[in-house]
């Protein structure tokens, strides 16, 4: 479903010369699976997902979604995905209903079908009370709901969530995670990036630990635990990261990678 092969992204950066946001990563996510990208801030998660959503071009490597190439068949790719991240905001001067309708229409859904689908969706996500509220007047949780509705209104086979729970309170975050699990059960292929261990543990069927543009470990949660003889994911994560940093201190590296705290 999502096949990523040697994907790399470099930037020219005045301060640090060539900046490697992604150093050639590969993974494969299947339908009915939640694939987690687990990494600290600035690990390259957002860059990966932006390339998959065709907003950025990779420097090298390939990525296909449902068999479509993200570089050369970008418009087909965008039809196959629902993309939601902290960077895909909600329009201030549009109501929830108008916003979701707009994107549904852009996906070419016929009017009647769209109406029916939206009624169901608004019911399921409990959005009926914010139906006619302008984006500017919504709380973060409300906006997040609108974003989800916007991302899944065209019923895409692939869903990409980038740090979807950032800034949400416990209740809304929990509801969001539940809906994502539900979507998986409907057979969607879901790519879920996060830096929160609890979420990854609870939700993901497979995990890739990503740090400074490289995948440090990959497998199911059980596989990772067995490989690294560590039951606690947070501990495991921390060990992986610090081991990598010891072997490749940022200064000695030829391709200087992103430092923590900065995400492109």
């Amino acid at each position: 479903m999502i096949r990523v092969d040697g994907l790399a992204k470099h930037y020219a950066d005045l301060r640090r010369g060539k900046l490697v946001a992604l150093g050639g990563i590969s993974f494969h996510a299947r339908p009915g699976q939640i694939y987690g990208l687990l990494g600290p801030n600035g690990a390259g998660k957002t860059t990966t997902l932006r390339i998959l959503s065709t907003v950025l071009l990779p420097t090298s490597g390939t990525a296909t979604i449902n068999g479509y190439d993200v570089v050369n068949q970008s418009s087909q790719v965008r039809r196959e995905i629902g993309f939601m991240s902290a960077n895909t905001a909600v329009y201030d001067r549009m109501t929830a209903w108008e916003m979701v309708e707009y994107f549904g229409r852009l996906h070419g859904i016929a009017r009647d079908e769209l109406r029916h689908r939206m009624e169901v969706l608004f019911g399921r996500l409990q959005m009926n009370e914010i139906r006619d509220r302008l984006g500017a007047k919504m709380s973060t949780g409300m906006k997040q709901k609108v974003s989800i509705a916007r991302a899944i209104v065209h019923d895409p086979p692939v869903l990409i969530f980038d740090e979807a729970t950032v800034g949400l309170d416990v209740l809304v975050a929990r509801a969001l995670l539940n809906s994502i699990a539900e979507l998986r059960d409907h057979g969607k292929c879901i790519l879920f990036s996060t830096h929160i261990m609890r979420e990854a543990e609870k939700l993901c069927d497979r995990l890739a630990v990503i740090h400074r543009g490289r995948i440090l470990a990959e497998g199911t949660l059980e596989e990772l635990r067995d490989q690294h003889h560590e039951r606690d994911l947070e501990e495991l994560f921390f060990q992986l990261i610090s081991r990598h940093d010891e072997c490749h201190p940022p200064e000695s590296e030829v391709d200087r990678t992103l430092e923590a705290g900065r995400d492109r």
Binding site: G17, L57, M94, H107
Partner: protein
Amino acid sequence: MNGSNVRLILAREIRDQVRDRRTLFMIFVLPILLYPLLGMSFFQVAQFLEEKPSRVLMVGAKGVSDAADLPSLVDPQRMNRFDVRLFSDPVQVGLLELSFAPEEPRDGPEEREEPWRAARRAVQAGEYDAAVFFPPDFVERMQRFQRANRSRLEEKTSPAEATEPEDPLPLAVPEPKIIFSTANEKSQIAFARLFDVLQNWRQEIVKDQLVAAGLPTAAARPFNVATSDVAEETGHRGAAVWSKVLPILLLVWAMTGAFYPAVDLCAGEKERGTLETLLCSPAERSEIVLGKLVTIMLFSMATAALNIVSMGMTGWLVLAQLPQFGPPPAMAVVWLSLALVPVSALFSALCLALAAFAKSTKEGQYYLMPLLLVTMPLVVLPMAPGVELNLGNSLIPVTGVVLLLRSMIEGNVVQALPFAAPVSAVTLGCCLLAIRWAVEQFNSESVLFRESERLDPTLWVRHLLEDRRPTPSASAAVFCGLLILLVNFFLNTSLARWGRVESITGLVLLTQLAVIAAPALVLTLLLTTSPRRTLLLRRPRWLTLPAAATLAIVLYPTVVGLAATVHRLYPVSDVVKKQVEGVFQDANIWHLFVLIAVVPAICEELAFRGFILSGFRHLGHKWRAIVYSALFFGLTHSILQQQLIASLVGVVIGFVAVQTGSLLPAIVFHLIHNGLQLLMAHWSRGISPAVLDRWPGAHFLMFVEDGSLVFRWPVIAASAVAAFVLLRWFHALPYEKSTEEERYAAQLRAQRRDD
């Protein structure tokens, strides 16, 4: 491109803008309020200006006002006013307030100068708006003159008493002076008023003399000049003013109306984070751009239309009461609406591209000023007196539109209509370019995801020097081009100002080596790792060299033909022609050949087809690289006419350089082209048509005009066809693509496969 997506985006953007209070205010409320308010304040200001009296100092006027046999200058009742009979409109008497300088006993010549100087000082210091200085002997001389006149008259009537006239008629007449300052507006107004009064006074004196001589007063004014304004009959009264005001208004508001929505729709969306939402929807970038563009266009058109309607209404109701203004001509509405669409489209596309570049609305607002600075001269240039609508001017973007509109509103429809085609073509061309630019901005991830970085010049320079690539970047190419242009400009202006390089040799070598070749070579060494690849220093296939040489020869008549056309469109002034000719007057032809053909062929090619072209190759398409480098090449030439031709030739040379991957064929082409030009100019200087008789058939190929050879059109056509064939051959050569060009081609291939 999916039409329904464009419609969807358009509908959303319009709704978005309509829900924005600031936009509504700028577009609907402001124009409706602005002009009536302006109209009112205009009246108040006008009244304020009209009613201010001028303070005038009268020097030496005591005798003048007392003199019995002169018509009265000053009102005998109110000593601070001129006589009311000297005004055509009696109301204006109050506009000149007189003060009299104290009369002092005059003895020596130094004292005589004193009141004159005092008056000048008073005007300089602004105590008075103007002063009138009567020379001390003014009255005496006037009286003497009158006496002489009278005795001459008596002599005529009674020839028996043949006495000598008391005084001969003086040749030099006395000169009262008005002292004023052109640096001061109030003083200028006072001068105009005083001048009228003194002229009327002089008229009165003449009249008195005529009466005394028994002649009718009409003798001094044998005829009157009456006027009749045809504009009044055709309803074009005031058209001259409106034809200047309305086009400017249209352009300025079309731009303003485009700018604010553009900033909100692009930079604003970036800032609010909704742009990425839209970018990962199925809408294509081109659909997004088109949807936004049409939205901006609609708002631009609405703003311009509302402003013009509001201004027109104000003008119709308020300004029409003034005698020198009429209401705007009714047909203006038609012409303005016709012009509105292309003008709005052009500005909308420009604003869209600029706004897409901006990271935030605040940054977007900063770009208004540069945009205005670039556009304003084009809008205001046609307002200069003497700039008329002709083919040359109609080809200048924006200026052409203003001139065309002006002629149309003035009522010269028939004369202006033929220029509608070139003006529309140029405007449309600019529009398409601007739209392409906007689409490109939306396709460039460095523009869409631009981050504000701290500007650190040292880091930047270090980055340039350390992270060098084999060939320069596009921005390095731009930098090199601008550097050459700037240095060239300053060199030329400073030479013109501070002295001349004595010989043409010095001038050419200085320009070519120091201004053109040196920057390119230095930048190549500093900024690239492979001078060989940057400057295309590679051995070409041997066949390309004779091919380039043949191309240069074959293309020559076409270039000459084009140059002739350009010179017809934009004639070179005689002064410039003389200067250019003077340079070549008395130099050895082979010496000149080295200077004009050999040196520039090497130096200019190194810079323009070497460094600059290689830099632009990173833009992703060879033609863009070729055209941009050719534009820089053209701009280094000094006169406009040369710039146009050189840019076209530059495209051909750039193409040859890209296709052969080597600088050598380009140098060969350049050398032969310049050489031919020089030799033809040399041999045909002062040529007589008889020369052509020596060769049979020569008359069919060329003729002599203004002492130079001109090719006939069959030659030009044959030359163009042959050149085309040769260019096809170059086109068929496999050429080396840059990484960016490879990527672009791969995308195109994939797109074609999908379709």
